[in-house]
Amino acid sequence: MDIVVVQFLTGLASASSLFLVASGLSIIFGVSRIVNFAHGSFYMLGAYLAWTLVERLPYGPLGFWGGIVGAAAIVALLGLVMEFVLLRRIYRAPELFQLLATFGVVLIVQDATLWLWGPQDLLGPRAPGLRGAVTILGQRFPQYDLLLIFIGPVVLALLWLLFTRTRWGTLVRAATQDREMVGALGVDQKLLFTTVFMLGSFLAGLGGALQLPRESVNLQMDLTIITDAFVVVVVGGMGSLGGAFLAALLIGVLHAFGIVVFPKITLVLIFLVMAVVLVLRPYGLMGRKPGPVAATVGLVTPLIGPTPRALVWLGLVAGALLVLAPLFVGDYTLTILSEMAILALFAASLHFMMGPGGMASFGHAAYFGLGAYAAALLMRQLGLGMPLGLIAAPLAGAAFGLLFGWFCVRLSGVYLAMLTLAFAQICWSVAFQWVELTGGDNGLLNILPSGWAQTRQGFYWLALVLSIAGILLLRWLIRTPFGHALRAARDNPLRAEAVGMAVGRLQWAGFAVAASFAGFAGGLYAYFKGSVFPTFISIPRSVDALLMVLLGGVDTLAGPIVGAVVYTGLHEQLMSLTDYWRAILGLIIVVLVVAFPQGLAGQARDWWLARNGGRA
């Protein structure tokens, strides 16, 4: 009983930081409609900056709290810079491009933090005056945690006053509903956006800084917290501060108990709770059905009809060259080509979901990784080889696609995408934490393909043939009545319902199809690498897939293939050139989005239309 109370209190203490971060994310999204992936980076920077400030300032209450608030203020200024330099240029870009740009910032901040503070975990000092513990029911409980428990509600109350009692708050609430109308009433939106972004960033920075006395400061903080923040926002209901607070309490307490009860699979518990909440209240505890503004992820240019003859010939020639490639090129190139082929299939599966399906996924790597683990576990646990592994991989993808998809298709737009990310992160944490089964961070090794495919040429041909077959199958599916119905449901769900289509079930099926092809690609990848690691499921891999699809262009099937080839090549080059390849890649992403806010394919289409006298 005593331990229950103490764990409960610990959960409440963790909930405060989580609430600060999630409320910032929610406020920024409300006004700007941008899902700011870099919000987690601001949290991390808040912690690192607080560490530095507190170390430098003289130890004492003034130095400590000055350092905490100072760190949050610096993060707010960084938010200002990001809004001013980057976001202001891309407010009119499609949502997913905005998201990519903020992910570019995540990569840049990761490397900048590594460069400035080094790879080792940092430990901050305890808070002066709050170093001790109090005794609650015979259990010792840190005084600092007691303070944190109060900070959450205090911030909630302050935010509530700010939003209901000031003109600025009224304008923010109005802009959250209809920012265009607010502009037409003469309100300077730029100023509003900038200040909102600063407030949101301040909250993230403060959330990070407040963790300093509780846990070590490390480079994984950004993606860990952003996942939790997404879960909180989805569970609490987007745009509702009260909902974010409740959800943060719920998640915080669950974390605290999960660590005691199921140390290995804490996140599974959270998954179960999230599932229950979303079944009962699809828009979160205190959320409402989002308006049409939030529901469109943009990027719905219709898929074009028959493939132009020239492209067919080009494809055939390229295919023939690829089949003959082992005769001309060396082992290294063959390895790269194999990887490109597998990732093209992975990207094509995401494209199927995003293009014809109209559902953006931030967590597509989940199915890729599940496929890989399915193949690897069959070999390690049951001694079954590649043929069965390659059958199990798409089945595993499909099974989890059906499970997760059932929840996801109840939402739409960015809400759906956030949920996909949360599911992917849960899979990642299981792969990472369940060491007995998955080997944890050490992965599963010696996943060998069948004997005939163990040569580089042999495996290359296998990967090439299966990937091309998979992509052609997806292409065929898009043109079946199922594919047409899926596109109808995407373009106008209400009308599709009205003519008798079961939109939810169609999307569910589409989700599962995409997941099963991703699983298949993952299975191939396991044999290709000869090993499987939790990184196969990580957020960066999901973003890789998004990048491939968006770089190539979501409105053509060639897009993901071109995207996969270009991106894999670029990635490989950068990694061989510098240790700070993440920052460079992030910078390239940011520059591309700013220069071509409609995407490369969209830009090409506009040029083509302009040259041919059409109107863009």
């Binding site: 109005a174 209809d178 502009g183 037409a184 009433l185």
Partner: protein
């Protein structure tokens, strides 16, 4: 006060407005009459900057405003009341008015919530009610009151009588007439000749994105031929 010359606008590939020409003098109430889809709303949206004109000039108080942002245009003293009302449903009546508030402007009446509650007595009874829990007529009053909070020199009213009960339509006409008496300049769009006749001095008839006819309201009412050609359903 407001001059529109050669205004063109497109939605994607669709050509919506083709060479719109119109002027509004200070103190005038001018109506744009036309059927559904004639381009009335798009004309008003182009003036306030919600639709970016593809060609043409718009001059307000001697300043070119075509292509500027809606907030810049609004702060020059142009008020816009959208057809869909676009009330902030989560905000109370009082808060909706607050969003519209701008600094007092020289040479025009300075509106306060109290003066607006006097003009629209219904609103006075529901100051703390969320916009989403009001009737259509009440929302229509609120959307006009909200725009007046910006102390505009000219207001653009998009189909103020649409979808309202006859009683509310009468109240709306009275309110516009009261504004006119105070010297407000108004450019409104309408499908209802009856409503236009109640409030307007002058009319432009718009069809398929072009101005087809211009006349004083009295002359238009006497001209059965024009009415038949452009306005009969």
């Amino acid at each position: 006060m407001l001059t529109v010359q050669g205004l063109d606008a497109h939605y994607g590939l669709a050509h919506i407005l083709a060479g719109i020409e119109l002027t509004v003098q200070r103190g005038e109430v001018v109506v744009l009459l036309g059927r559904n889809g004639a381009g009335k709303s798009t004309t008003l949206k182009s003036i306030i900057g919600l639709v970016r004109p593809s060609a043409g000039q718009i001059t307000f108080e001697g300043q070119g405003i075509a292509g500027r942002s809606p907030s810049t245009i609004a702060r020059l003293g142009l008020g816009y009341v959208p057809e869909e009302r676009r009330i902030f449903t989560e905000l109370t009546v009082r808060e909706n008015l607050e969003v519209g508030r701008q600094k007092p402007r020289q040479g025009v009446p300075h509106w306060t919530p109290e003066k607006l509650y006097a003009l629209f007595p219904n609103l006075a009874e529901m100051k703390d009610r969320p916009g989403g829990r009001m009737s259509g007529g009440e929302q229509q009053m609120l959307t006009i009151a909200r725009t007046l909070m910006g102390n505009p020199r000219l207001i653009l009213l998009d189909e103020p009588s649409e979808g309202l009960s006859p009683l509310i339509v009468e109240q709306m006409a009275d309110a516009i007439a009261a504004l006119k008496r105070d010297g407000m300049t108004v450019l409104l769009s309408e499908q209802s000749l009856h409503f236009a006749a109640r409030v307007a001095d002058r009319a432009y008839i718009i069809e398929k994105g072009r101005i087809r006819h211009e006349a004083g309201m009295t002359a238009l009412l006497a001209d059965a031929d024009v009415r038949q050609r452009y306005l009969a359903v």
